[in-house]
């Protein structure tokens, strides 16, 4: 079950999470967001021990979109201990998502 993160739940779900959180900023009308969704879900399952994966809807959470300056979707953002530690726009493959996670967490 993929976590849906909202403006209200953001503090608890992301900032105070006990694991790194991988967020997918997406929208229903964004074709590339739909394309990466199955791979993102799969990564969320495979990395369940390492991180929490969740989604933020571009249309429904304008405050979060503004706060993190999201101007292209899909954008994946990785949070750790309440801070953004990296982001990637429109990764081209499941492998690219995994590389982003590994390299960002290793920093």
């Amino acid at each position: 079950m993929m976590l849906t993160i909202t403006t209200n739940s953001f503090e608890n779900d992301v900032l105070r999470a006990d694991k790194p959180v991988l967020v997918d900023f997406w929208a229903q009308w964004c074709p590339y967001c739909r394309r990466i969704a199955p791979a993102f879900d799969k990564v969320g399952e495979q990395y369940a021990d390492t991180l929490i994966a969740g989604k933020i809807n571009y249309d429904e959470e304008p405050q979060l979109i503004e706060r993190f300056g999201i101007d292209t979707i899909p954008t994946l953002m990785l949070f750790k201990s309440g801070e953004v530690i990296g982001s990637v726009v429109a990764p081209g493959s499941k492998a690219a998502i995994e590389t982003f996670i590994r390299e960002t967490l290793a920093q």
Partner: protein, 309 residues
């Protein structure tokens, strides 16, 4: 999945050609896996509406059609892996593919890797993707509401992109290296009538201008050589496609455009390796011609497997 299992067929690419090959293979009793780096559909998945694939009288969006093709193949036992192929050894017995999810071995390989948008080849282009440079108006057009955009190209997809963007953006400037559109006639009139579309003929993009993001383009007149600057918020590149055949270089015969040489039988220069869909040399690249290739490839592969038992 790093084991010695040998599939009857490895399908590389989960677009319409790939999943049709997988469907036919599974129904012929072949043990088949589809290796797809992202999700089903390929280029089709980014198409808003497909009206020329028979059987959907109201049209269907590309992503949904892709999902249906995937589910249909999986109903007959096809496996799908989110695997990116990194290296191929197509002459090995069995044939071997090294992927991001381990090694896969198969008696036959169907290459359905499709094509990607061609880039401008201008300095800074890769760095500006997502910050003003885009290749898919249906995907990224929404971000340019009320803004000024440049569309580069003169074919059908450039014309369709310019038309789509003219409904969203404040102004669209169509830049084409020739003095007329190559696009089919149906696009000419609506484009000429759109009040916010401007044409820059005989022009190519010589530089991308940027700060944090794209701020404009420099155009070069192909006749006079004169250069000029156009301020814009985005540039949509629509200058054709290039086949995804980098992994096949040095192993398979490719044509001058980089496409895998294969005729109507889809047979490539290596026995047991088939090329289907946009990646193959062919006169018409459409969903219907890709799915037809998929069926033919399995017909040939079945013969190959029997003969090489």
């Amino acid at each position: 999945m790093n084991n010695n299992h040998v599939y009857d067929m490895l399908v590389v690419g989960g677009g319409p050609g790939g999943y049709t090959a997988a469907l036919y293979a599974a129904r012929a009793g072949l043990d088949t896996v589809v290796l797809e780096k992202l999700s089903a559909g390929g280029q089709m998945a980014l198409t808003e509406q497909i009206d020329n694939y028979p059987g959907f009288e109201d049209g269907i969006d590309g992503f949904s059609l892709a999902e249906k093709m995937q589910k249909q193949a999986e109903r007959f036992g096809v496996r799908s892996e989110y695997a990116e192929v990194l290296r191929m050894d197509l002459t090995a017995v069995p044939k071997l593919l090294e992927t991001s999810e381990g090694i896969f071995r198969g008696k036959t390989v169907v290459l359905a890797t499709g094509a990607d948008p061609r880039t401008l080849g201008v300095a800074g282009e890769a760095e500006l993707v997502g910050r003003g440079v885009a290749y898919c108006a249906a995907c990224d057009g929404m971000f340019y509401k009320g803004k000024t955009v440049v569309v580069v190209g003169g074919g059908n997809s450039a014309a369709a992109d310019a038309l789509l963007l003219s409904r969203v953006a404040k102004k669209v400037i169509l830049v084409h290296r020739r003095d007329a559109l190559r696009a089919t006639k149906i696009y000419h009139e609506p484009l000429e009538q759109a009040e916010n579309v401007e044409f820059r003929w005989n022009s190519t993009v010589s530089a991308l201008l940027s700060g944090d993001r794209l701020t404009g383009v420099r155009l070069r007149d192909t006749v006079t050589g004169e250069e000029s600057v156009v301020d814009c918020d985005g540039v949509f590149v629509s200058v054709g496609r290039q086949p995804a055949t980098a992994l096949a270089v040095g192993q398979l015969a490719l044509d001058g455009g980089g496409y895998i040489v294969a005729g109507e039988t889809t047979e490539t220069s290596i026995p047991g390796v088939y090329a289907v869909g946009d990646v193959r040399t062919k006169p018409l690249r459409q969903v219907v011609t890709a799915v037809a290739d998929g069926a033919v490839a399995v017909h040939m592969a079945e013969k190959y497997i029997v003969e090489n038992r």
